[in-house]
């Protein structure tokens, strides 16, 4: 599936023969990249697969946030809330009602694929409920208004115990599609034992590819132009016939749905959802991702997501051999803190010195 979309992305435009596209070096690079990504589960160990899965889930969420903040100029600090809606929505829809540590957990027990789709729609609906505010406010006003979502989310997650499991969170039912379950039972493929992460890899990769492809389509088409027009000059956009409030609300819903999908994937990788994770720090991480990668582009979101989510994992993995970084609790700089210094500094440095982000070293507006 991933290969198919990669081909589609590089497909020659009308009037150009197919072979011309195949001869371009870019196409070959993309094909090679896609093949490499597809082959990785056969070679990487569990740690790197998990890190990669986190990065892919984060990339989907970051693409959504970049549509909203990068392309439309609507700052959102509430992205973590929609991730939580996706993650918990999936758990509640797919989980069975059960009793855990004396707490009753309710669940609908739907088929997991249906639950995943519904969880994404649920996140979209939550974004839609916020649209009276998302459609009318802009920039920093919206940023602070969405801050409220984080606190509402945390409040609900800790208090609605029968749905969310409260402080302890709730287990995530493994995903299954057409009778194939992405769980920890061992399946041997080409002499390589496949566990949950190897299997999930092949669910996350197409999800990311489709998300990226769809966002690219949105950005390159009419809606993308409208969104950029709203960002660059709201009034001029309105005068030329762009329904500003409707587009703002619409892109908010779309970005929430991306967050919902990312939340479902994260939940599947974690295998347990806990409320603490979906706090303000997570929202700030997503903002850091899109700024570091490049505001307003899909590739930027993916690069930024990889940077911000792989950094702490890599630092933790190599904390023994790195100077200045030490294991948590030993008094030095813990890997988590070191990575926060790095991406905090990266945000500042990128905005000051590389206004287009890592993926677009030239200034935005110049020819790409």
């Amino acid at each position: 599936m991933s290969e198919a979309t990669t081909d589609g992305a590089a497909a020659p435009g009308p009037g150009r023969p197919l072979t011309a596209g195949l001869r371009r070096p870019r196409t070959h690079l993309r094909l090679a990249g896609a093949l490499l990504l597809l082959a990785l589960p056969f070679y990487l160990d569990r740690f790197w697969l998990q890190a990669g899965l986190f990065a892919m889930a984060a990339a989907i969420g970051a693409i959504g946030l970049n549509l909203l903040t990068g392309s439309t100029g609507q700052l959102s600090m509430g992205h973590a809330f929609f991730l939580a809606v996706g993650a918990y929505g999936y758990c509640v829809l797919a989980g069975e009602s059960s009793t855990q540590n004396g707490h009753a957990l309710s669940g609908l027990g739907l088929p997991t694929w249906l639950a995943a789709v519904l969880a994404v729609l649920l996140a979209g609906a939550a974004g839609g409920l916020f649209s009276p505010i998302a459609g009318r406010l802009r920039g920093a006003y919206l940023g602070i208004a969405t801050l409220a979502l984080i606190f509402i989310g945390q409040h609900v997650l800790f208090n609605a115990g029968s749905l969310t499991g409260g402080f302890n969170g709730r287990p995530v039912p493994p995903f299954s599609l057409f009778g194939f379950t992405f769980d920890d039972t061992e399946t041997v493929v080409a002499a390589v034992p496949f566990h949950s992460f190897e299997k999930l890899w092949y669910a996350a990769l197409p999800a990311l590819a489709v998300s990226a492809y769809f966002a690219r389509g949105v950005l390159r088409g009419r809606p993308g132009r409208a969104l950029n027009a709203i960002r660059d000059h709201r009034i001029a956009a309105g005068v030329t016939g762009v329904p500003v409030a409707r587009y703002r609300a619409g892109v908010f819903v779309l970005s929430s749905m991306y967050a919902g999908l990312a939340g479902v994937l994260l939940a599947l990788v974690f295998q347990r959802t806990v409320p603490e994770y979906f706090g303000m720090v997570l929202s700030l991480e997503y903002l850091a991702m899109i700024v570091i990668g490049g505001l307003g582009s899909v590739a930027g979101a993916v690069v930024g997501a990889a940077f911000v989510s792989l950094l702490p994992q890599v630092l933790t993995h190599y904390s023994d051999s790195l100077p200045l970084v030490s294991a948590p609790g030993t008094g030095g700089v813990a890997p988590g803190e070191a990575s926060r210094y790095l991406y905090g500094a990266a945000v500042v440095a990128v905005v000051l010195f590389l206004p287009g982000g890592l993926t677009r070293p030239k200034k935005p507006g110049e020819n790409r």
């Binding site: 210094y341 500094a345 990266a346």
Partner: protein, 296 residues
């Protein structure tokens, strides 16, 4: 009724502290059009300096150093980061302040660890009882100090040449620059003043009945954001009203938590944000914010 009055007065006191933070936030916005998401970390910095020094040099000098320290941090952020930005998009600058916030907050929370630091204030847990109404001394001190500082600030804003240049820069930066007002100096002083006000607020956010300066203090400081927004980002009056509204809402919601138990525990922390959302639904520019008019 006594409970209600106690809660109301306590809310007004803590609200005046929020107003102090929100005021600094609004001053930065007025002077530079930048929304400063690093404000909570300035507050944390001021509080931390005071907490570390008060044992050695006594409380009042430590507070002075803390206030000066936060002002220096604020000015440094402006000088080292904000001034270097060459673009014109202010929402990108808002994201830069988020990066700055991540840096400062990470450093301070790493130093604090899981400790709860005392700021060594002279009031302790003393209370004052007048006519059956009991109030903590710290709350009274907060109200008096915040009131004084706010009055002082508003007078300076109105009558000193610093205040006039600040208002001119807010009104129209280009014209102000042509009239000989140095915009760099204006925004530097705005950041310094905001830092200083935040450091004073840090003191009152961490005294009795709160346990002390800890990681969660920055969450308390965040409540100044809804305060500034619901009053209107570009209005000093709005910051004051917003701060008081947030303080009273929080105090009442916490005080009557028992009657509101169907909403879950900890509703007091959430209430200010809900009020902000309701206000924004009715008035998208806040209670006192100027509606944006643009000429095309």
């Amino acid at each position: 009724m006594t409970t209600f009055i106690e809660l109301l007065l306590g809310g007004l006191a803590i609200g005046s502290v929020y107003a102090l933070i929100a005021l600094g936030f609004v001053v930065i916005f007025k002077a530079t059009e930048v929304v400063n998401f690093a404000h909570a970390s300035l507050l944390l910095a001021g509080g931390y300096v005071t907490a570390v020094l008060h044992d050695d040099i006594g409380f009042w000098p430590a507070l002075g150093v803390g206030v000066a320290g936060a002002a220096v941090v604020g000015a440094a952020v402006e000088f080292l980061v904000m001034r270097r930005y060459r673009g014109s998009d202010h929402s990108v600058l808002a994201i830069v302040t988020i990066g700055v916030d991540i840096l400062i907050t990470t450093e301070l929370t790493r130093r604090m660890g899981t400790e709860v630091l005392s700021l060594g204030d002279p009031w302790g847990d003393g209370v004052v009882t007048v006519g059956g109404i009991t109030l903590a001394q710290t709350r009274i001190a907060a109200f008096v100090v915040a009131g004084l500082l706010i009055t002082l600030f508003l007078l300076a804003f109105r009558y000193t040449s610093w205040g006039v240049s600040m208002r001119a820069a807010a009104e129209n930066p280009q014209t102000a620059a042509l009239m000989g007002i140095r915009l760099g100096r204006v925004s530097l002083s705005a950041w310094a003043v905001a830092g200083a006000l935040a450091a004073v607020a840090a003191l009152f956010l961490t005294v009795f009945p709160t346990p002390g300066l800890e990681r969660a203090t920055s969450f308390a400081a965040l409540k100044a954001f809804p305060a500034a927004i619901l009053g209107g980002l570009d209005s000093t009056t709005g910051a004051l009203v917003g701060g008081l509204v947030v303080g009273v809402t929080e105090s009442l919601a916490t005080g009557y938590q028992g009657d509101l138990s169907f909403l879950g525990r900890g509703i007091g922390d959430l209430a200010p944000y809900l009020v902000m959302l309701v206000v924004l639904l009715v008035r998208p520019a806040g209670l006192f914010g100027t509606k944006e008019l643009a000429r095309v």
